[in-house]
Every structure is written in C-alpha cells, then in structure tokens.
C-alpha cells in the first residue's frame, strides 16, 4: 500500500516528524517497506525529442537515435524500441539515472560497438503502466514546448510503501492508516467533512440482485450522474496518482481510484448509455464470456458473481469491469457502483480465472459493508466538481443487513497474555480511537466492533489491538527457565545425529539435496515403489518426490566430475518417499564414492575405489553406532541399481528379516545412461528405521573383563571351495567349532588359477587358538587342527589344500 505523507495528513492532524511517523507505523504493525523522497531520483528523467533515428550498423533490431534533450544538447542513444522514430516526443534518462522498474543505474555504455548516452524509457520502466512494448509516446500538443524539462513534476512528495498483512484491509486506505496512527498517539484523526450535494431525480436504471445460491454480492449501491464531461484529471489529482506510480487515465477513473485508495472503498463507473436497460447481479453460467478491462477475454464457469444487463455480462463483481460498458472521454452519463462482495466468492472467482486487481485484493480481504454510501457520496461529489453533471438519488439494493458484531472483553485477559498491565481507561481510550464503541460492566468491556475490521471476532483479537497500539517494547523480557520436561533427543534422533557425524568422519562430504528429483533419474532407483508426482513442480526436471537418495547423489556426483573433480565422496541423510501419504517416508543415509584411492601418490600405488572401501565405511559406522559386528550377516541380495555381482546387504542379525544397509558398485548400465565418467563408483545406504533400538544401557554394554595369558598359537589353512562359496560361511563353520578356543580368524588370501581346478577357488586363513585355562600342548593343537579340517570338509564340501 503506497501513499504520500501529505495525503496522510489530509486525515491526520499531526506535529510528528516524518521519521517519527515512520517508526510509529512499524510500531503498530504496519510494516514500512520503503520510505523515499521520489523527486530527487526522478529529476533525471527529461522530456526529449528524437531528431534522427538510424539503423544500428551491427544489430537489426536496434536503432541509433539523435535525441534532443534541451538547451541545444543532442545525445546519441541506442534504442531497441520499434516505435523509436524521428520526431517522437519521449522520456529520456541520462547516465546516473536509476530506472524505477528495476532500480538499474544507467551508465554510458557501448551497445554492439556504438556508444549510448542514457536511455529512452518505456512506460513500464517508469512504472507508469505495464506498457513495455516500445518507448513512452508523449503528446506533441502538450509536451513540444517542454523538451529538456523534468518529465516528473518537481514535487517533494515523500512516498511510503507499507506491507499490509492480510488481516488489515482497513489499512488499504489512507484513512485507516491515519486512524491507527492517531490511536497510537501520533496525532488526531480528522473528521470527514461533506458538502451537501444536490440529488436530482431517482436512479432510473433498475438494479436487482438475484437470489442465486451462494450469491457473491449482498449490497449493490449506485447512482446516476448525467451530463458529465469526462476529461483529463486536474493537476492535483494527476499528481496524486503519479506520486503513487499510478498512471492517470481520465477524471472519472482517477476519481474512483482515488476514493478507493483514500477510504478503501472500491467503486466502479459504467458508461450508463452502454447498459442494456437494467443491472442484474447474478451467478454466471458456464461458458459465458466477456472482455475485461485488461483486454483479455474470459470464459466463465458456473456460479461466479457477475454484473450483467439484458445483453449479457458487464463485469465480474468486485474483480474487474468489462470493456463493453467502460467509460471513455466521450462518456456523457455514468452509473457509479459501490457494492459489497463476499470475500470467499471473490477469492474463488479470481483464483479460477487467475485475475489480480486492486479491487479484488481489497474485496477478498473484506471491505467495510457500511461504506457504500460514503463511497458514492465522495466520488459523485468529486465527479460533479470536476466533470459537472447531475447526481441522482442513491439506489441501494440489500440482500443482507450488516450489524456491527459485539464481544465481551475481560480486561484481565490483557495482562494474562502480554505479561504487563495497562490501565483500564487507557485500554478504553485506545479502543475508542480505533473505532470501537465501548461500554463497561465491572471489569468486562462490551465492545461493538467497527464494521471495517472483519479480522476481529474474539477477546484475543482485542489483546492484540491494545498491545500493538501500546507498543511491543512495553512487553517485559522474562528470562527463560532451565527446567526440562523430557530428554532433548529421543533414541532415533540421537542415532540420526550420530550416524551423520560417523559417516562424515570417514571422509564423506555431507550434502543436502532436494526432496524432489528428476523422474527420469528416479526411475533407475525407484525399484517397486510408487512414483509420487508433484502436481505443480518448480521445473519439469524436479517433478517427483525421490524414491531413493541416489538419484540426486548420482546427478550431483556427475556435476562435480564434470567440474574436474575425480575422487569424490558424498553423502546425504534425509527422507525418501514410499508413497504420497503423510508419514510414508523413511530416513536414509546414502553415500557415494568415485574415482581412485591414492591417486597421484608418491608412496602408494593407486587403485579404483571398490566395494570393500564402502563396506569398510559402512560396517565401521554401524559398529560406532553401537551394533555388534559379531552378529552382522551379509547376503548378496541387493536392489537392482547395484552391480548384480558386486553388491550386498547387511543384516544386524542373521535371523533379521530386513537388511539395515546395502553396499556395492552402482550398476554399470546406470553409470552409462547417466554418462558418468570415472574409474570406479561405489555406494552404500543405511535405513535408520530398520536399525533396531540398541536398548542396552551403557552400564550393561560392557561385559566382565576376561582375558587369558596362556600361550597363543596360530595355524594357517587353505581350503579349496566352489567359486561361489562364501567366505562368511567358512568363517562361521570354523568359529562355531569351539568358541572358547578359536579366538580369531583372518582371511589372508583368495586364489584362483593355476593348480586350482576350474570352478574352484582357494581361501587361505589364519586361525588364532588360545585356551583360557592352560597352555595348549602340541597334541591339543593337532586335535583342533584336525577337527577344523574335518568339520570344514564335511560341512562345506571343501578340500584342504595340501
């Protein structure tokens, strides 16, 4: 909401300095977005004349213009507008000017080899209108003697721009703002003075509001003004419009806009001679069309509130008028409309048709239903003054009576909510100043809510009114108490934070990527999960929620590889989505690693990353999170996006149904399709929901400390097994032979080839044997040796390698 301080002072009698008013505005909740002296910046914009325009030597669509900027100064300006022709009067902005539309500061610059001194401006660049096709065209009769003069009137108006929250439609008019300021002690609200106007005859265009279901209009007030001479607005009105960046159109339109901005009372003026017999306010029928004042044709749905006549739709009530009945300079008789439209109806219609206008913005927030007459009065009076004509009696059709609602307010609620006290009579004064009618019974106030405050309906709203007018700086600061109701983090949250830092400590950079992803990449990773489409994605390559964490990781890995990085380790911890209902998501860690280990290293040979690198990081992370490695079980099942032979799943326990993690090489087909170029690409993922609660208390986690000082012995074995035989099974067989004696088993060689039959491999392992009761004799060792060999051979079909 923009307004000038002088306009504000038409409603507010104040001795406050500008800066105090600005601070007060923010203080009462009307946030000041900007406050600027508009003239200084705009002095750079001059009326100018193109005296010659030639084709740019290096660009088809550009012209090089010689521009007369007054006082015998001719400058060269490069211009791309199609209407930049010899003889045109337009607006010139010199180097150093700041273009109002985009705040761009102009400099002398070379455009395709030709130096341009400044710029010729379009109306849109000057914020005069949305017209951006071509530069401003000024009328010769008015401007030909003004070449070199300031285009903008040299006023020193200060413009305030407020960001009005949706609950305060009343402050979309200058008077509402003045009222708040007055209540907050920044002056006195002036009363509105009316000259009596003579009303001649009745309004003889019949108006009816139909009793349609969900009729969006409840009051339609109107008057006829006959015999007007529409013209350009007088200087004061034009300047008012221009100072707010609005383009003056004609006196009648400017007056309706002026009343809207002044009192937050939208009005509409029809050319009465274009209305076919009568006004009917009704619901639209599907398929009806009309051309609106934005020059677009709209096709209507059922049930939109339209103002129509016998020939059809004239306009969308409270949203936008139509061209058919619009006022022109030649308009002689006008019908002025001042109506009340229901916010819900306005919102529905404008959303469906995607129309945003000043009127719509106000009606959807709620206009004062008691402002019908004052709007007609103020506008018709101004029209009579400026354009002449005779005003009819007002015709007001009402479907509903609006009464000011009343609430009871217990004064003690104020202190209960805000923590500080305000004297009763001060509260009453504030409320009176805001327009409430207050009566008192003991400590309860009976309040009649002003009709312009649709946001107020219950006692808490009154607390807000008083505290914001009184000022939030009066609220005491109470130091926070340090008592805790429950633990800061639950087990799952602790696990989250722990795993996050655990993975990072293994050399992975944490990233945070979108929860959405490109469906084409997601398809590689979604397995049998449902694709979850976003109805209105931000872009077509972010069109689904991610079913896996790897679509984004792979995508960004590639981006970094393309940047020239080679050995990359990335991870993310975050949600993946199983379906589109709340809660159907899992928290997952995904990690990806590319390139080589020890690349360009002076003392170690390099090698591509492989799955045992990620397996190490994965297993160690699980161990650090408190899980017992001795119970882990690896299977070679994994999702299809992994290399089928080089991937596996990790179970916390052999009997578990769900794996907690997967690791492996990314499937070469996916690597190829995503065009990822690297020596190796491996990844792992951990599913937090499947990690069992590690419920053992810390004091129970440590078992008794038992150790043996008796002599240890080590024995090496090599077994020949089937090629697909799993090392895990071999270890399991050996370790279960005698858990007391067999302390550790290490695999130190895997061999295939010469001396080993086809389809077989040799697994060489080192077994540490130690008793906790005695030093083992040679024959004890021999016994266990034999037992190991025979058990392995029977249980696995392996042969000891002689």
């Amino acid at each position: 909401m923009k307004f000038t301080l002088s306009w504000l002072k038409e409603h507010l009698e104040t001795k406050h300095k500008d800066s105090q008013i600005i601070n007060k505005l923010t203080g009462v909740g009307l946030e000041v977005e900007s406050f600027e002296n508009i003239s200084s910046d705009l002095d750079n914009f001059k009326v100018a004349k193109i005296i010659n325009a030639e084709q740019h030597p290096n660009a088809d669509r550009l012209r090089v213009c010689d521009v007369d900027i007054g006082q015998q100064n001719i400058v060269k300006v490069v211009c791309g507008a199609p209407n930049a022709k010899k003889g045109l009067l337009t607006v010139y902005a010199g180097p150093g000017s700041v273009i109002p539309k985009n705040n761009m500061k102009l400099t002398v610059s070379k455009i395709r080899g030709v130096t341009s001194y400044g710029m010729l401006c379009s109306e849109s660049e000057l914020k005069l209108s949305d017209e951006s096709e071509g530069i401003t065209e000024l009328k010769p009769n008015k401007y030909s003697d003004k070449i070199g003069k300031n285009f903008f009137n040299n006023n020193t108006e200060k413009v305030v721009d407020l960001s009005i929250t949706p609950n305060r439609p009343d402050c979309l008019g200058v008077r509402g703002i003045a009222r708040d300021l007055a209540a907050a002690g920044a002056g006195k609200l002036k009363s509105i003075s009316h000259k009596n106007i003579k009303k001649n005859g009745s309004q003889n265009i019949k108006v009816s509001i139909t009793k349609d279901k969900n009729q969006g209009c409840t009051i339609f007030g109107s008057c006829l003004i006959k015999g007007v001479t529409n013209k350009e607005s007088p200087k004061w009105l034009k300047e008012k419009m221009e100072s707010l960046g609005q383009k003056p159109i004609s006196a009648i339109v400017d007056i309706t806009n002026y009343v809207m901005l002044d009192l937050n009372r939208p009005l509409h003026a029809y050319d009465a001679d274009k209305i076919d017999k009568e006004i009917i306010v009704r619901n639209s029928k599907k398929g009806e069309t009309f051309e609106a004042l934005d020059n677009k044709e709209y096709k209507l749905e059922d049930g939109m509130c339209v103002i129509s006549d016998q020939s059809g739709v004239l306009g969308l009530g409270g949203v936008i008028g139509g061209t058919r009945s619009g006022t022109e300079f030649k308009t002689k008789n006008i019908l002025l409309e001042s109506a009340y439209f229901i916010p819900r109806s306005i919102r529905k219609t404008s959303k469906l048709l995607n129309i945003d206008t000043d009127a719509k913005f106000r009606f959807e927030r709620g206009i004062d239903p008691h402002s019908i007459e004052i709007g007609l009065l103020k506008a018709s009076q101004l029209i009579e003054e400026i354009c002449g004509g005779k005003i009819s009696k007002f015709d007001i059709q009402k479907m509903k009576q609006y009464k000011n609602s009343e609430i009871k307010f217990n004064i003690s609620l104020f202190e209960k909510i805000t923590g500080f006290k305000v004297k009763e009579n001060e509260i009453i004064k504030i409320l009176n100043d805001l327009g409430f009618k207050v009566s008192k019974k003991k400590s309860v106030l009976n309040l009649k809510i002003p009709s312009w405050r649709p946001d107020i309906s219950q006692p808490i709203d009154i607390v807000e009114e008083v505290v914001r007018i009184k000022g939030y700086e009066n609220i005491e600061t109470i130091e926070p108490e340090k008592n805790r109701l429950k633990d800061t983090l639950n087990k799952q949250q602790k696990l989250f934070h722990f795993l996050q830092r655990s993975v990072a400590s293994k050399g992975y950079l944490e990233t945070v990527t979108w929860s959405f992803t490109d469906s084409r990449i997601n398809n590689f990773f979604k397995e049998n999960l449902k694709e979850i489409k976003i109805v209105n994605p931000i872009s077509s390559d972010l069109d689904v929620l991610r079913n896996s964490i790897f679509s984004n990781l792979a995508f960004y890995l590639k981006k970094n590889l393309d940047r020239g990085f080679k050995d990359i380790s990335l991870f993310e911890i975050g949600p993946i989505f199983k379906n589109n209902q709340p809660g159907e998501q899992l928290t997952v860690i995904g990690a990806i690693k590319s390139g080589k280990i020890s690349r360009l290293n002076w003392n170690e040979k390099d090698r591509p990353v492989d799955i045992f690198d990620v397996k190490k990081d994965l297993i160690q992370t699980l161990i650090e999170a408190g899980y017992d490695k001795r119970n882990f079980f690896i299977r070679d099942k994994s999702p299809t996006y992994y290399h089928p032979g080089k991937s596996g799943s990790v179970y916390l326990d052999k009997d578990d149904i769900d794996p907690v993690a997967y690791f492996g090489e990314l499937h070469p087909n996916i690597v190829k399709k995503l065009d990822i170029k690297t020596e190796g690409i491996v990844c792992f993922e951990i599913y937090l929901e499947y990690l069992k609660d590690n419920k053992i208390k810390l004091k129970d986690q440590k078992s008794n400390f038992e150790y043996s000082d008796y002599q240890k012995s080590e024995r090496d074995f090599a077994f020949i097994v089937d090629k697909n035989y799993k090392a895990q099974d071999l270890i399991e067989i050996i370790s279960s032979i005698d858990k007391n004696l067999i302390r550790s088993i290490k695999i130190f060689d895997i061999y295939e080839g010469e001396n080993i039959p086809d389809g077989k491999k040799s697994i060489a392992l080192n077994v540490t044997i130690q008793s906790s009761e005695k030093t083992l004799e040679e024959n004890d060792l021999e016994k266990i040796n034999k037992l190991i060999i025979s058990t392995v051979e029977t249980k696995s079909g392996a042969k000891i390698r002689s």
Partner: protein
C-alpha cells in the same frame, strides 16, 4: 700382583683407543680366552701359598671385573656408534607429503540445526519431528488458515494431488498440531526440518529449513516469548550486544503475532550482526491462537503459550557469511568443502557452540 696390574693398565689404555668390534673381541680373547692372560693368571692361583692366594684372588677378580666392564662398555659404545652412523644414511625427506586423509564435512544446515538444538536444550526444549508430506488440514486448516483465506497466498504450495489435499509442508508448524494432538500439555518443543514452497530466486529456494518452537503451559505469556527468543538470538550469534526489535505482525495461527528484527550494519559489503542501525527480519512468532488450541483439543482457557518459526538456512547465512541460499542445495564440492564443518566439531552447551 704387579704382573696383573700391568696387564690391567696396559689393556685399559688399549681399550681407550678407537677400536672396532673385532679388535675389542680380539682383546677379549687375549684376556679371557682359553690362553688369555687373565685366564692364565687364574690358573696360577693353585700354586700360590695360602696367605698370598686369598689376596691375589681378590685382586685378580676385581681386575677381571673391571676389564670385563670396560670391554662391555666399549662394545656398547661401538654398537651405538655403528647404529648412529647407519641411521645417518637412512635420512628421509620429511617434507614429503603425509599419506592422504579424506576430510569429511558436515553441511552448514546440519551444523546450524545442532547449534539450535543445543541452545534450546539448555532451556528445556525437546526435539520433535513431523512428515515432509502433509495433508491440507495439518498444514493450513488446523492452523486457523481455512481455505479461501488470503494468508494461503503467502505460501506457494507444492501439491501431490489434484484435489489439493496432499502437499509438501510449507512450514514446520504442522508439527505443533501433531505434537499437541498426540500428547497432553505442557508442551515445550522445537521442530527443525525441511519445508517447501514453489518459489525460486536468490533468496528463495523451493526447499528450505525451518525450526518451529512451541511452549504451552498454564501461564506462558509474551514476556516469556521475548525472553526465550532473546536468549536464543544471543546464544546463537555468540554476541552479547545485539539489538532486537519485536513488532506487530500477522499470522493466522498466532494472536497477537510479532516479527523479530535484529540490528546490523554493512561493513565492506558484509552484514555484521549486532548494534548497527539497520534492521533485518529473522523470525515470526506469537501467542498460539485459541482456535489452534481448540483444534488440537487443548483448553484455551486453561493453557496458553507461544510459538515461533525461524528460517534455519537464513540464520546460517547470517552467522557464517554465506550469500546465496541456492548454493546450500547445489552440492558443489568446493562449496561443501569451504562451508562444511569438521564432524568432530559437535556443538554443545559445555564445550561451546562453535570452535
């Protein structure tokens, strides 16, 4: 006697020479070998008269010990010398680079979430979470933002169905609703998490992070709200002198509502938080609206309290001087390395928030 003394003196002098191991061993043989001089002297013991024998034996033993000691010392000296001279030849270029360590990093958003959790933990808040996918009821209606409310326009919502019933949450406030529906007052929680709005430019990104705060009890008023946020802001920015301004605003789910600005100044184009004369909006807050309490079955006549919502990414940008919000989510290896935190740098109350 004089013979063995002579041997002793002679060999002690010999052993003082610069010798190698071999020469020392030769001397050792000359003295203690089968026909060594000391060995031979012992052989003469038997032929001595009783009265001389005792004295001679004692002298001989002490000379033997002395010489043996001398030889051992000499051998050790030589050994150490040899090792030392060998080590001289093993000199490495210690300026060669160490074996590589891959330094992992924690993303700034995660670090800031940990910092925030740590601060609120100190004043008794616990952490709650909620789903990223929400229904329209929890995200809007239960929060006193019915359909057709213009406030919905302030949230550009991503929808997952054509009926606009399933959406990506536009703020963390639905966690308030879920928490209160699932429990009994008092409530004292924060809820950090991902939030989504279909908006993208330098200061907006379609996904960002918020932390919600909620404290409901019998007598929690706006003074507590001010105190809590005051405490948080000072702790988070780790500065004691920081200007804060509460000003009235509007959110459908709080009444009265406020926005909080902090003071800053621009120094060399960088924002410096503290006592400057400019204001920067950093959060929205207010007293939870009685309608919201009713919607979650909390009696607004018995319980009241405050809620707040803070943009996490923005806090991180301000604290750590990061300019572009979108870079948070673009996974640029250089950026992650530059702005990331060491995984061991865990924010905590007792150790301090940041290093």
């Amino acid at each position: 006697m004089s013979d063995i003394k002579k041997i002793r003196d002679e060999y002690l002098i010999k052993l003082d020479n610069n010798l190698d191991t071999e020469s020392v061993n030769q001397i050792k043989t000359q003295l203690f070998g089968k026909n060594g001089q000391i060995s031979n002297s012992f052989k003469t013991l038997g032929s001595l008269p009783n009265d001389e024998r005792k004295k001679f034996a004692s002298d001989l033993n002490s000379i033997k010990d002395e010489l043996q000691e001398k030889i051992n010392t000499k051998l050790q000296e030589i050994e150490i010398k040899e090792i030392n001279s060998k080590l001289e030849n093993e000199k490495l270029d210690v300026t060669l680079p160490e074996r590589e360590i891959n330094q992992g990093k924690i993303h700034p958003v995660s670090q800031v979430i940990d910092e925030i959790s740590s601060i609120f933990s100190e004043i008794g808040f616990s952490v709650e979470e909620g789903p990223d996918v929400e229904n329209e009821h929890y995200n809007f209606t239960a929060l006193n933002t019915p359909d057709n409310h213009p406030a919905r326009d302030m949230h550009d919502t991503f929808y997952l169905d054509n009926n606009k019933e399933i959406l990506l949450r536009t703020h963390t406030s639905p966690v308030q609703v879920r928490t209160m529906l699932n429990g009994k007052p008092p409530f004292k929680i924060i809820a950090p998490g991902r939030t989504y709005r279909s908006d993208s430019d330098q200061t907006h990104s379609p996904m960002f992070h918020q932390v919600e705060g909620l404290h409901i009890d019998k007598d929690i008023n706006m003074g507590h709200l001010k105190g809590c946020l005051n405490y948080f802001i000072k702790s988070f920015f780790e500065i004691d002198k920081i200007k804060m301004r509460f000003r009235p605003s509007h959110f459908p789910f709080t009444e009265p509502s406020a926005e909080v600005d902090i003071g800053y100044e621009l120094k060399d184009g960088k924002i410096v938080i503290g006592e400057g004369d400019k204001w920067l909006e950093i959060l929205g807050c207010g007293m939870v609206h009685p309608n919201v309490l009713k919607n979650v079955n909390v009696n607004p006549h018995k319980y009241q309290g405050y809620a707040f919502g803070i943009g996490i990414d923005r806090l991180g940008m301000l604290k750590y001087g990061i300019n572009d919000l979108r870079a948070f989510f673009e996974t640029d290896y250089r950026w992650l390395n530059h702005f990331g935190f060491d995984p061991l740098d865990v924010p905590s109350n007792y150790r301090g928030l940041s290093r």
